[in-house]
Amino acid sequence: MDTKQLLSDARARFNHNSTKAHLKDKYSSKLIVADQGGLWKATPEIIGFLSSSTDEFVVLVDTFENPVMVNRITLHDVLYKTYNEVMFLWFSEWKELEGKR
């Protein structure tokens, strides 16, 4: 990179919208988990449902729209752990970047 290019890039502005979109893409992929023969996205909705049910086994529609019978507690624990880990990473990376100008 030459000096002219360096000076030009030094005046660059941080693009918050692109960053936000990129982080959403990045961490959405990390929320996907394969478990008990299905592919799941760890979301508050599914975790909430698994928490509220009392049955040992439940049937849920997975990411590929197939009904899958799962052990409720096992899937809950996997998704809950994934969700928390990923969301904290997402949050901390966003916090780190949102102050940039």
Binding site: S18, A21, K26, K41, K100
Partner: protein, 267 residues
Amino acid sequence: MSRGALLFAFNSPKYNYYEMAVYTAKRINHFLGLPVTIVTDESSIPNTVTYEFDNTIIVSPDKTNIRDHSIWINKGRYQAYDLSPYDETLLLDTDYMVNSDTLLKTFDLSTDFACHDTTSFLMHPGVPQEILSAYSYKTLWATVIMFRKTLRAKQIFECLEMVQNNYDHYANIHSFIGGLFRNDYALTLALRIANGHADRIEDIIPWNLVHVGKNTSVYKNTAVELESEYTVMFDNWQRGKIRKEYTIVKDTDFHVMNKDNFMELIA
């Protein structure tokens, strides 16, 4: 059950794809923990080999594809099924920058063949998805393919060969520009044919393929060889002037469409 990655790399007059493959292979080893097999030709292998691939498979490339007045050796990808020494294979473009272990999740998919159907561009959110033509299908991407050695996967690759051999015919039917062969288009048609002219959601990798597109350049943030943090610079044209914008990405895999930029990254 063996697992590994497969890269096709044939040097063109303009770009050293073998060198790109070495760089990508090191990243695959590091971030995915997978061995890498290269499919190449004699003339692409340098005199001094600095990196030992798991396997080096020599083939005669088809050099009949021309892009921008230069040879683009991208045909023959259908051979991946027969050439891969692995039960489960990740077939990647050599300009795919692996920066995380995300691709290992493709092996968790219950299907025997998976690829991307949705892309996103760094610094360019909301770009419409590519379609073969106004009256045809949404493009599938051959940049990242996971396949297992099954009869169905074999049929898909055989279909890919058939589409390659009759590319102009399919271009005519689907109203896209023939002549220049694109693996993405051939894959789009082959997978659909193999699936009985239907979409099969299970064959789609359930996250976006990230591209670094035009007017966008990627720079390493440090000189560390296996760096996974980059500054992405975008030339945003507004009223005839360029406004420079940037973001920082880390631990994110992406496909560098600009080969010159990729060569700068590996230098």
